[in-house]
């Protein structure tokens, strides 16, 4: 045989060998609970809790961090397809995606465990925290009723105000504006002082939608909002136009400026932390953020000022981070036991101290710093789309939020936006029924 041919045959054998060496045999996993999550800032606390659990119960727990959250969602989706989901994981998307994973059989129904010992585990949690993980008997997702995830913390979204700036404007810092009229009057003074009024990440559309919905609850009541989502009340209803008009009034009074519609929440947080804005519309995670940016910031928590006394003003609250158990995991019983341990008072208190997030369990309230206590009080006046059995079509939400941006910029009237949203709603509903 020619030397060149011999060389090339050798090269092929070597390459093929390398290829097959690279193929690992199927995994054989030792007994340990594997948890996938995306919460970068909670990883050190989770690791510490994993060590404590091993010391107490002798079972190894491996918290595996996959961030950012969008990439994490891709990984969970791919792992579900490949049958490689870990023992415990989180689902980071809307409730209908959560529902589709349950229907595909990937997520364990935790109701029997929650109901053990006279509902002992279930009774630990704030009802709002469980509501987002629960499917009621008449849910529209087609999921068997039950509780499918364990909340480990919660979020409430409300308004924060800078006490020093409020004092500078001649107001009592312990009495932020309660009514919308007071709020608008403050806007004029803010403009005179050349400060920024309300800042928020309204460039990220969901925060506008959230703010608008707070006022929709106040103006027309929760039932009518849900009826709109079901398609029974049109967005051209006078109550919705009133909601949209509020944005025009806030702009005219100086409470908000054009900048807010393109602002990302990180920028809004920076402006508020640097004491350049009087108000911010933000979630309870801001406690940790402001602490990092400006530890001396003196601020308080408030509900968005009410426009009407007819219906309660509800804020979004309850949906935080939750963990699900893999229904096919060989260690699912151990996984449930670990989650019970993780949501016990001692572990929740530790998580609150380390992460400054709202706890999911009621007993933990005493351990909270004052700002978090104030945020947790708002939970009584909160609701969350993931706790409803109906959901608005994504394109409708987007059109509404973009319409509000256009109102603030003075490009569209509230009536025009309402008509546009209704058109999209009708079109999407027609598509859905086909």
């Amino acid at each position: 045989m020619e030397p060149n041919k011999v060389k090339s045959i050798r090269a092929w054998i070597l390459l093929s060998g390398l290829f097959f060496l690279g193929c690992s045999p199927p995994e054989v996993r030792e007994k340990r609970i594997v948890i996938w999550h995306w919460m970068t800032d909670r990883q050190p606390a989770f690791q510490e809790l994993a060590e404590r659990y091993q010391a107490q119960r002798g079972i190894q727990v491996d918290f595996q961090l996959y961030a950012p959250s969008e990439a994490y969602s891709q990984k969970v989706r791919a792992a579900a397809q490949g049958g490689n989901l870990p023992d415990i994981f989180g689902v980071l998307s809307e409730k209908r995606d959560f529902a589709s994973l349950i229907k595909a059989g990937y997520i364990l129904d935790l109701t029997p465990y929650m109901e053990e010992e006279n509902f002992a585990w279930r009774n630990r949690f704030f009802p709002q925290a469980l509501a987002v993980n629960k499917f009621s008997p008449d849910n529209t997702y087609g999921v068997n009723p039950g509780i499918y995830a364990v909340p480990i913390d919660m979020v409430a979204i409300a308004m924060v105000y800078n006490k020093n700036l409020l004092r500078k404007l001649g107001f009592n810092p312990s009495q932020p504006p309660q009514s919308f009229e007071e709020f608008l009057n403050l806007g004029r003074k803010i403009r005179e002082e050349k400060l920024q009024g309300l800042v928020s990440g309204w460039g990220e559309l969901w925060l506008i939608y959230c703010f608008a919905q707070n006022y929709a609850f106040n103006i027309m009541g929760k039932e009518k909002v849900l009826a709109t989502i079901r398609g029974e009340v049109p967005y051209t209803d006078s109550a919705w136009i009133e909601v949209l008009r509020l944005f025009e009034e806030m702009k005219n009074s100086g409470i908000i400026t054009n900048k807010v519609v393109s602002m990302v929440n990180k920028t809004a947080e920076q402006i508020f932390a640097n004491e350049k804005a009087v108000f911010a519309f933000n979630g309870s995670w801001c406690v940790n953020v402001y602490k990092g940016m400006n530890p001396d910031l003196d601020y308080g928590i408030m509900l968005p000022p009410r426009i009407s006394n007819r219906f309660p003003l509800l804020v979004w609250g309850g949906a935080g981070s939750s963990f699900m158990v893999n229904a096919h995991s060989p260690y699912r019983e151990e996984a449930v036991k670990f989650l019970k341990w993780l949501t016990a008072l001692e572990q929740q208190s530790y998580l609150v101290r380390k992460t400054n997030n709202l706890p999911a369990i009621k007993e933990c309230r005493e351990d909270l710093p004052q700002v978090l206590v104030d945020f947790s009080r708002l939970l009584e006046k909160s609701t969350h789309p993931n706790s409803w059995d109906v959901w608005e079509l994504p394109l409708v939400n987007e059109t509404l939020a973009r319409g509000i941006q256009a109102i603030v910029l003075g490009k569209k009237t509230p009536q025009a936006v309402a008509q546009e949203v209704q058109r999209v709603k009708e079109r999407e509903l027609a598509k859905k029924s086909n």
Partner: protein, 276 residues
């Protein structure tokens, strides 16, 4: 007349230089901000808006290098980048040579398929790639990741080599053949040296691509010990709170090798882009 001409020339040159200066500053400023912010504290990043910090905190670099297996991730990234770029250069130059200089049935169709593959963004392939790697037991292995990265980088690289080698004079190949060179020998001794400028371009493009890649690694790897350098960066980016000084220090360290590679290949890259 002469003075007028000179005045015009100087004015034109000054405007061009000013314009280029503005462009250069706008390109360099973010890098400078990154470097100087890496010496600040979390609080001073938000409160002290001047570029240069009052006190240089070198301990940020110490913290980065000692946290989260930074060294391990760094070595992983060097290994992945080296293997992928080397493999792409060999495979793409061979394929580019074949598409350019050889005649075989279905040549154009296969080339169009390769070009078509350039249009598919990698994130769109994540789920099928994951399922495929899982079936081959290549998930959570360096080989699985390297093969995916090679396949992702090949279409553009083959296209670049092919279009460049199309310009290689036929006479060069004929002379080599008369001297008794095989096809493989012509590729090694004639085509590759001829394609040196494009080799630089392919090397830098793919180095940047692999060095900055993270999403595929996140999907393919379960074990964090196999993760590339970008994994270390996300640790400093919290869900709600980002540790900017440490993130900037980590970014500065991460950027250095890319700058070194760019400086090494600078001549080839410029020639490659101009000649292409």
């Amino acid at each position: 007349m002469e003075i007028n001409y000179r005045l015009k020339k100087y004015t034109f040159t000054t405007i061009i230089h000013l314009f280029l200066l503005v462009v250069a500053v706008s390109c360099i400023y973010p890098l400078l901000w990154m470097v100087f912010s890496s010496f600040k504290t979390q609080q001073t990043i938000f409160t002290n808006l001047s570029l240069i910090p009052e006190r240089f905190r070198f301990e940020n670099y110490y913290l980065v290098l000692t946290q989260e297996n930074f060294g391990r991730y760094f070595l992983n990234s060097i290994f992945y980048t080296g293997s992928v770029v080397f493999s792409i250069i060999i495979i793409a130059s061979l394929a580019g040579y074949a598409f350019s200089r050889l005649n075989f049935p279905g040549k154009n169709l296969i080339f169009i398929i390769f070009i078509g593959a350039m249009m598919i963004p990698t994130p769109g392939n994540f789920v099928p790639l994951y399922v495929l790697l899982n079936k081959l037991h290549l998930r959570n292995t360096p080989l699985g990741y390297i093969l995916c990265m090679i396949s992702g980088g090949l279409p553009l690289s083959i296209f670049l080599f092919k279009t460049f080698l199309d310009k290689m004079p036929q006479e060069l190949e004929d002379i080599a053949r008369i001297d008794g060179c095989s096809k493989l020998r012509i590729w090694w001794n004639i085509a590759l040296p001829f394609a040196k400028p494009i080799l630089g371009v392919v090397a830098i493009f793919n180095t940047l691509n692999v060095w900055n890649e993270y999403l595929l690694a996140l999907v393919v790897f379960d074990s964090k010990h196999l993760m590339p350098l970008q994994r270390a960066l996300v640790v400093f980016r919290g869900e709600y709170l980002t540790n900017y000084p440490l993130l900037m220090a980590a970014l500065t360290i991460t950027t250095l090798p890319v700058i070194v590679i760019y400086l090494l290949f600078q001549e080839y890259i410029v020639r490659g882009i101009v000649l292409k």
